[in-house]
């Protein structure tokens, strides 16, 4: 029996065979537009890798030439690039480490629901919703040497000539502080959701048995919360190692080369020195790092996601 015969007698046919055929193509049809939009972005990405293998300076177009790993070799033998690696690592470790500690601490303080903790957990969302570049400009206003309120506060504490982002000694401290202001709430919000989702019984049992608080913290809470801590930390690490907005808006990498993290260094190479080849090589190295990190991240994230879906 063909479908057309059925359609003849029934005004509303259930298109069985047709449906089965459609089910094969349908998913591709549905996801194709999204994919096409991304292919357009994937091509330049491959191109960047190709640029990184060329001597390619916009100021000297005639010298453009394929040089294999020349850019990478010259980067690795350049003290400036090792400085960039060091600065990026410092920034990443400081921000992620401090934010995890502070974020966990705050999440634990907000764990029990009261009016104050509910209000505070809403208030914490606010800094997270401020664009990092704008946050940097806000802190720049507050740390201005002439009228900055924070400069005034630290002068009350006895630091009269505290120069914040304009002195090489304190520039890193300043941008890390801005990063913490913006992103600690991110960690707090995720960990708070994790904490509130934990089963209550182990904690109640521990309280009944009079188990010391440090034991509860290290042997019960931390292990149970660990998947959340890991996901939040890796998430932040992936962002932090690519930090651009906060540092660019604050000092553009200065003073001197104090804050020349990966992407700022690449930006400087591309837009100040028009050296596309070298800039691309820096970015490919950064991409290799983030790719490795994101693989670890995705594994953890998937496990959490499965669990969240399972609970629903």
């Amino acid at each position: 029996m063909s479908t057309s015969g059925v359609a003849g007698v029934n005004a509303r046919p259930v298109p069985r065979r047709h449906g089965a055929r459609m089910a094969g193509v349908l998913p591709y049809l549905l996801s194709m537009p999204a994919l096409l939009a991304c292919v357009g972005i994937l091509i330049p990405f491959i191109n960047a890798v190709y640029y990184s293998l060329q001597r390619y300076n916009l100021a000297f177009p005639t010298t453009r030439k394929f040089i294999w790993f020349g850019n990478y070799v010259s980067l690795l033998s350049d003290a400036g690039f090792w400085h960039t690696i060091l600065v990026s690592m410092t920034y990443t470790i400081l921000t992620v480490g401090l934010e995890l500690l502070l974020g966990l601490g705050i999440a634990m303080l907000l764990w029990r629901r009261t009016l104050v903790t509910n209000l505070l957990s809403v208030a914490l969302i606010l800094p997270l919703m401020v664009a990092p570049a704008i946050a940097s400009l806000m802190w720049k206003l507050m740390t201005n040497a002439n009228f900055g309120i924070l400069s005034y506060f630290v002068s009350l504490l006895g630091f009269h000539d505290f120069k914040w982002a304009s002195a090489p000694q304190t520039a890193m401290f300043t941008v890390v502080l801005v990063d913490m202001w913006v992103y600690t709430p991110f960690i707090t919000i995720l960990l708070l959701a994790g904490l509130r989702g934990l089963p209550r019984q182990p904690f109640e049992a521990a309280e009944l048995d009079g188990v010391p608080a440090t034991f509860v913290f290290f042997r019960i809470m931390l292990p149970m919360l660990f998947p959340y801590i890991l996901t939040a930390g890796l998430f932040r690490m992936l962002d932090s190692i690519q930090q651009f907005d906060i540092i660019y808006a604050m000092t553009q990498g200065g003073p001197g080369d104090t804050l020349m993290v990966f992407q700022i260094q690449a930006y400087t190479q591309a837009f100040i020195f028009t050296n596309i080849g070298r800039a691309s090589a820096i970015l490919v190295i950064l991409w290799a790092i983030t790719y490795a990190l994101s693989n670890v991240f995705v594994k953890n994230w998937l496990r959490l996601r499965e669990r969240a879906r399972g609970r629903a």
Binding site: R12, M22, L26, P27, S31, P33, A34, L35, A37, C38, I41, P44, F45, A48, V116, L120, V122, A123, L124, I125, L126, M129, V130, A131, I134, L137, M138, W139, N144, N146, F147, Y152, W181, T184, F186, L190, A193, G197, T231, A232, L238, Q242, F244, D245, Q263, A266, I276, S280, L283, V284, L286, T290, Y291, V298, W301, L304, R305, A308, R309, A312
Partner: protein, 281 residues
């Protein structure tokens, strides 16, 4: 009150201060005249003035050396256009794809989903640098369309992974029952699947709007002042207005109010959105 709860209260106060004071102070500064701002010691008591905001809205900045025209309102308009259309495009592209990934186990499906996800973690400049050279040669540089397309890097993964989770939660049986009633696949999709996933779609839309609004680097590289959003505009504004600190503060307040207001609506979905669906709020 025992010692422990005093300590707790102190800690909560300090946390509140650290995270809220900067916002409070910048809002205060935006209502100050330059004389008030430069007063030493600084004081939260002053007679508020709206003239910083008036100057911004009219585009006529009063500086010590005369008036200067700065079209900061254009930056606000650009932010709105870029974010709104990026979200709309992401929903059109992302919702059907999210449905496909949630419902069908198909070859390359997971690969595609993860390719889209991986964009979220690649260094933006790596893509922006070659794109800049392309855009200049095909005329997409400094256009809304070019930027909205690139903004998909931020908004599309968000829409895809949040909405996918909601589709996975919708029982297939409801869809099947409706189809057996003789309705086409298309009408099932629009009349059953989408309405059931609506909270997820709304959450994804609001969150991706906020993320698009807060983006800085894309428009810094791929546009000039005519299409640049407030994030980039504010930086230019700081340089241009020099020592008019009240106006700078007002400009910053203008740029953050829309996202702060939206954030109040997204609260419920924030956890899920920020973790790309990995943690339920």
């Amino acid at each position: 009150m025992n010692g422990k709860s005093v300590l707790r209260a102190v800690a909560l106060t300090l946390i509140g201060l650290f995270f809220l004071f900067p916002l409070f102070w910048v809002v205060l500064m935006s209502f100050m005249t330059n004389a008030d701002i430069l007063r030493n010691p600084p004081s939260p008591f002053f007679s508020p003035t709206f003239h910083n905001y008036v100057a911004l809205v009219s585009g006529q900045l009063v500086t010590t050396v005369g008036t200067q025209k700065i079209d900061y309102m254009l930056n606000l308009f650009n932010s709105t256009v870029l974010s709104a259309f990026s979200v709309i495009l992401s929903l059109i592209l992302g919702v059907p794809a999210a449905y496909a990934f949630a419902r069908y186990k198909f070859r390359l499906g997971e690969d595609m989903a993860f390719t889209l996800l991986s964009f979220r973690f690649a260094p933006p400049l790596l893509v922006l640098l070659p794109l800049l050279l392309y855009f200049q040669s095909i005329g997409l540089y400094d256009t809304y369309i070019g930027l909205i397309w690139v903004y998909q890097l931020i908004t599309l993964p968000l829409v895809l992974w949040i909405v996918r989770g909601y589709f996975e939660d919708v029982s297939e049986d409801i869809e099947l029952a409706y189809r057996l009633d003789g309705h086409s696949w298309l009408s099932t999709f629009f009349r059953i699947s989408i309405p059931l996933a609506r909270p997820g779609i709304a959450a994804a839309a609001l969150l991706s709007f906020i993320f698009a609004w807060n983006n800085f680097i894309f428009a810094l590289i791929l546009g000039s002042s005519s299409v640049q959003p407030v994030t980039v505009g504010a930086l230019a504004f700081v340089t241009a207005s020099g020592i008019e600190y009240g106006q700078i503060a007002a400009a910053l307040v203008f740029s953050i109010v829309p996202t702060l207001v939206l954030a109040m609506f997204t609260q419920r979905y924030l956890v899920e959105g920020l973790s790309l669906g990995a943690i339920k709020g």
